[in-house]
């Protein structure tokens, strides 16, 4: 069913990993719509996944996490795959926006996080801040790039390409409030079926004030390479401690310098002046 897209309303993704089949149609659709080049055809040898990571030219990535104990069997009786179509989380409290010195990273009228490529100067401060390994420099454009939540498509009233391409509705697009309702219902259904490991990640404000691209996971967030709620902290947490540490050191440094001056004078009083110690 088509979603009416209205500027001023918050939109996002709900990715239900329990129905992801790892087809990577989302990756292909994203690359096609956003005109991103294909990845090198290398062989990573790590899992069935050959894409590796999200990066400056891969804005959707189906993670394939293997060798996970299969919870539906007895402990140690089987192994399972976890599949998850990863993407920028469009955090409510976005670490990247927090540290951007150029104002290139903004919130759009759809409450998504967007990098203005013509404003970005490639300082990479956002890369060291993003706790999801999402942002990267696109070597072709020399600016930081990531998922735009298909900003151009939203402006044209179309849903993002990845959500449209997903054959199992693992990626759902819509107004955040509706998506959260859908997600809660899905989690409750899975729990009722005995699938207790199903858990929602980022649907509430515990992780970066709420993620606009949130997930239903089948294991702990850390297994998917996502920081848990305890570790979801903003870079700015270190401003106060860092500056305070510097200020205390500055005071101690001044104190040390004053001591050095005083001790030097004391030494001069105790030692006779050398005969050629004048100015040049």
């Amino acid at each position: 069913m088509a979603t009416k897209i209205t500027p001023g309303e918050a939109y996002g993704f709900f990715t239900d990993t329990s129905v992801c089949i790892g087809c990577k149609a989302c990756e292909v659709a994203c690359k096609q719509w956003n005109q991103l080049p294909a990845n090198d055809h290398g062989f990573l040898g790590e899992s069935l996944d050959n894409t590796g990571n999200l990066d400056g030219q891969t804005w959707r990535h189906v993670k394939i996490i293997d060798n996970v104990p299969d919870e539906t069997m007895g402990a140690g009786d089987g192994k399972a795959f976890l599949l998850m179509s990863d993407v920028c989380k469009h955090c409510e409290h976005a670490s990247c926006m927090d540290v951007c010195p150029t104002g290139a990273i903004i919130r759009t009228e759809f409450d998504t996080v967007f990098i203005q490529e013509d404003v970005c100067n490639g300082c990479r401060n956002c890369i060291s801040a993003c706790p999801y390994k999402v942002i990267d420099i696109d070597a072709a454009h020399n600016v930081a790039r990531k998922c735009t939540l298909c900003y151009d498509r939203l402006q044209g009233g179309m849903q993002p390409a990845c959500a449209q391409a997903c054959p199992t509705d693992s990626i759902q697009f819509g107004p955040l409030s509706e998506l959260r309702e859908t997600a809660s219902k899905r989690e409750a259904d899975l729990h009722a079926q005995g699938i207790k490991e199903a858990n929602l990640y980022g649907h509430d404000d515990k992780v970066y004030g709420g993620l606009h691209a949130f997930f239903l996971l089948m294991d702990k967030p850390e297994t998917y390479g996502l920081p848990n709620a305890k570790n979801a902290v903003l870079p700015q947490r270190n401003n106060l401690g860092g500056y305070l540490g510097g200020a205390v050191t500055a005071v101690l440094g001044i104190f040390a310098a004053v001591i050095a001056l005083r001790e030097r004078r004391r030494g001069e009083r105790e030692t006779p002046e050398p005969p050629d110690g004048g100015q040049g």
Binding site: D118, N125, S128, G253
Partner: protein, 314 residues
């Protein structure tokens, strides 16, 4: 294994050589300007040659900094976007107090004005610049106006020497974001390196002998402060579970070189306490042996920053 206090799955920003040398020069520029101010206004008349030396070092070191920063950008021609917001419809000056990168760019810009004025003033006082405007500047800066000018400049420069550590900490990068001690450590290391650099340079300028004792004792105390902060840094990393990352091979070698850079000062403190040696206070001849200590300190200052920068991004 228990989770680190802030376990993230972050990508390295690939800040490497340009950033390393920027951090190094920012530390030295900051320390030299501060020491120059202290010697001119709180030292003796005999300290004036070294005070001028400090101002002579601060300006070129400061001017190289933005060049390095610009070269490090992926779009160097857009360097001015740090200062001016080019978002359509939102044209104006950029300042983001939440990120030390933005605060630091402005501090560097403003401090460079202080460095330029102090540099020109030093040239005029040395008689190397005889332009009437320079003489007028010197006249204006005589007395309390000059003191106020240099004190404000010193505050800015102490900030510049240390904020680079805070810049790293305000991230989600392992090691960098797991400690609050980096700003202080970089500042203490910058002060130590500046005292060593000026001590080294006193052998290339006549009349600097009276200040050598101060520089020598100062370097020892700054090294002790640096060591204390290094211990704090390692303890905070231990507490957050990222000490292994920081000390992994080959970065451990850089940490050892950084530690070796503190040894001349710490050894001087252990052996001579707060008394200047005869060599530091009175020697006037340039000897290779005498230059070893200060050179080692400077190599240590560089190695410390390299250890911090590279170990977290490995």
């Amino acid at each position: 294994m228990p989770l680190a206090a802030a376990e993230h799955f972050v990508r390295a920003p690939e800040w490497t050589w340009y950033v390393l040398f920027y951090f190094f020069l920012a530390g030295l520029a900051g320390g030299c300007y501060f020491i120059a101010t202290l010697l001119r206004y709180w030292g003796t008349p005999g300290d004036e040659p070294v005070a001028r030396l400090g101002f002579y070092v601060a300006l070129p070191a400061t001017l190289i900094c933005p060049i390095l920063l610009t070269l490090d950008l992926k779009k160097p021609l857009a360097f001015w976007h740090m200062l001016v917001n080019t978002t359509p419809g939102e044209f104006g000056l950029n300042f983001n107090s939440r990120t030390p990168m933005s605060v630091g760019v402005w501090a560097l810009l403003i401090a460079s004005v202080f460095a330029l004025v102090s540099f020109v003033d030093a040239l005029a006082r040395d008689g190397r610049l005889r332009h009437p405007l320079a003489r007028r500047l010197t006249a204006v800066l005589d007395g309390s106006a000059g003191k106020a000018w240099s004190v404000v400049g010193s505050a800015l420069y102490l900030f510049i020497a240390g904020y680079t550590g805070v810049l790293l900490a305000v991230s989600n990068q392992p090691v960098w974001s797991d400690t609050w001690a980096l700003g202080g450590l970089f500042l203490a290391s910058g002060l130590s390196g500046s005292a060593a650099l000026l001590l080294l340079l006193t052998h290339y300028r006549r009349g600097t002998e009276p200040s050598r004792g101060f520089l020598e004792i100062g370097e020892r105390l700054f090294a002790a402060l640096e060591l204390a902060l290094l211990v704090v840094l390692l303890l905070t990393l231990l507490g957050d579970g990222t000490l292994d990352t920081a000390l992994a091979f080959p970065w451990l070698l850089l940490w050892l070189v950084a530690l070796a850079g503190m040894l001349p000062g710490l050894r001087g403190l252990a052996v001579g306490g707060l008394r200047a040696t005869a060599a530091g206070g009175a020697a006037s001849q340039r000897t290779v042996a005498w230059a070893v200590g200060p050179s080692l300190v400077l190599i240590g200052v560089l190695a410390l920053r390299a250890a911090v920068i590279f170990s977290a991004q490995a």
